[in-house]
């Protein structure tokens, strides 16, 4: 039987990729540390380019992703300035500043062997870098790893229950073949934004999948609701239209999304909500796969580092995340 190696996500001390590590090291090299002042992003990018030859355009995208709360559950970069939003681009690197976050500092110390290994790569996943591993809930993953340190023979079912489903950070409903995901088989998970019925004439979109841009979703909804079939195929038009008269973006920030859809008179709000949940952008599919079953991946991480003080490492990571 072929055995797929979990690879560096298990064997590396933090599980981070080379680019992420290089960015953290570059920040440290120019003293952009958790307790120091932020440094110009441009200086960080220059240090990354000097270190691994990665062009600033690529490195900046990674720096931004490592700082964005809707991209990674454990933010490794603490940003100062406009790091972009769901609907708008970040300011250029000459106008922004950054430094290591406390978790970023811890990850770097772990890579250097100053503290025990940390499961940051396991938890953050690599979907943000076009990979297939989705992020996990950090505290649940830490709890599951602690259980494996205490009781290495804990059944996989128990570990899977402790870890829970992937954590996509924007509060979407998750569906799909989660059993396949947990078993390490490639599959697709469906993320559906939360659509609630406000009253008889309003629907509210409260969350969207992480890769959806609200303004794009609004444009798509307007397009779906266009009367393109009404003249030639009225029944088809009635079957496909959502019944939305207008849609307004009342979001107050990237964290608080609120798209208010006003329904045309006589439209059943529950039926309209059901149709809205099928509009591309409100729903999306993400391909996911772990190299081995998820419980085995966590087990392998613990086993690989069993000679080190993992409980202290997990405690310090948890403290960093909760303070």
């Amino acid at each position: 039987m072929a055995v797929r190696s979990p690879g560096r996500v298990v064997e590396g001390r933090s599980g981070l990729g080379m680019v992420e590590q290089s960015i953290l090291a570059a920040m440290d090299a120019i003293r952009a540390r958790p307790n120091s002042y932020h440094k110009k992003s441009l200086a960080v990018l220059a240090a990354v380019e000097e270190g691994i030859g990665l062009a600033p355009g690529y490195a900046y995208e990674m720096v931004l992703d490592l700082a964005r709360p809707w991209v990674v559950p454990i933010r490794l970069v603490d940003f100062h300035g406009n790091f972009g939003g769901r609907d708008y681009d970040a300011a250029g690197p000459r106008y922004t500043e950054c430094r290591l976050s406390p978790a970023g500092g811890l990850a770097l110390r772990s890579e250097r062997g100053e503290v025990p290994p940390l499961p940051i790569g396991l938890i953050n996943g690599n979907i943000y870098a076009q990979g297939l591993r989705p992020p996990l809930d950090p505290l649940r993953a830490i709890t599951a790893l602690r259980r494996l340190v205490d009781k290495p023979r804990s059944p996989s079912r128990e570990i899977v229950e402790l870890v829970g489903p992937p954590e996509f950070l924007t509060g979407c409903d998750l569906s799909g073949d989660l059993d396949s995901f947990m078993a390490g088989r490639p599959t697709a998970l469906r993320l559906t934004g939360r659509v609630v019925v406000g009253d008889d004439s309003h629907l509210i979109i409260e969350t969207l999948p992480p890769n959806a841009r609200p303004h794009q979703v609004i444009e798509t909804i307007i397009k779906v609701d266009s009367p393109r079939w009404d003249g030639t195929f009225p029944q088809l038009g009635a079957a496909t239209r959502l019944g939305i008269a207008s849609i307004d973006n009342h979001s107050t920030s990237d964290d608080v999304l609120r798209l208010i859809c006003t329904l045309r008179p006589g439209v059943d709000p529950h039926q309209a909500a059901e149709r809205l949940r099928r509009v591309p952008g409100v729903v999306t599919e993400i391909a996911v796969a772990h190299p081995v079953p998820l419980a085995d991946l966590l087990r392998a991480w613990v086993k690989h580092h069993q000679s080190e003080d993992l409980i202290t490492a997990l405690d310090s990571l948890e403290t960093t995340l909760t303070t």
Partner: protein, 117 residues
């Protein structure tokens, strides 16, 4: 003409559910490709991702994310086989529209050709 899982579903095969996209084999005539381009551009989530009008006659497969879901346009298959497929196709009602649907045998043959199953 609709082929693939969507066509099998329209022919009553519930085993193909869920249907994730619509595969179509277009009539390769220039006039029809013009109509196809306009329809795709109108329905695309991002219109600029649809290839230029003049290129539809040369491309093999064009996937388009429309506001109703994903559509795969099997253009090369249309150039090679459209008339042959049409001779065995039937019309299926979708609401008050009628859609040309390839025969079940052709759908399964194309499926094995493109997906190996």
């Amino acid at each position: 003409m609709v082929v693939g899982s969507c066509a099998l579903f329209l022919a009553g095969d519930m085993a193909v559910l869920p249907v994730k996209d619509a595969d179509i084999v277009p009539d390769p005539s220039p006039q029809n490709l013009d109509c196809l381009w306009e329809a795709l551009t109108d329905m695309a989530v991002t219109a600029w991702r649809v290839p230029p009008r003049g290129r539809l006659g040369t491309l093999d497969v064009v996937p388009v994310a429309t506001v109703y879901g994903k559509v795969d346009c099997l253009l090369e298959r249309g150039r090679a086989d459209f008339d042959d497929l049409l001779s065995r196709a039937s019309l299926a009602p979708v609401a008050d529209a009628e859609v040309a649907v390839a025969s079940e045998a052709d759908c399964r043959r194309l499926r094995s050709l493109y997906k190996g199953r």
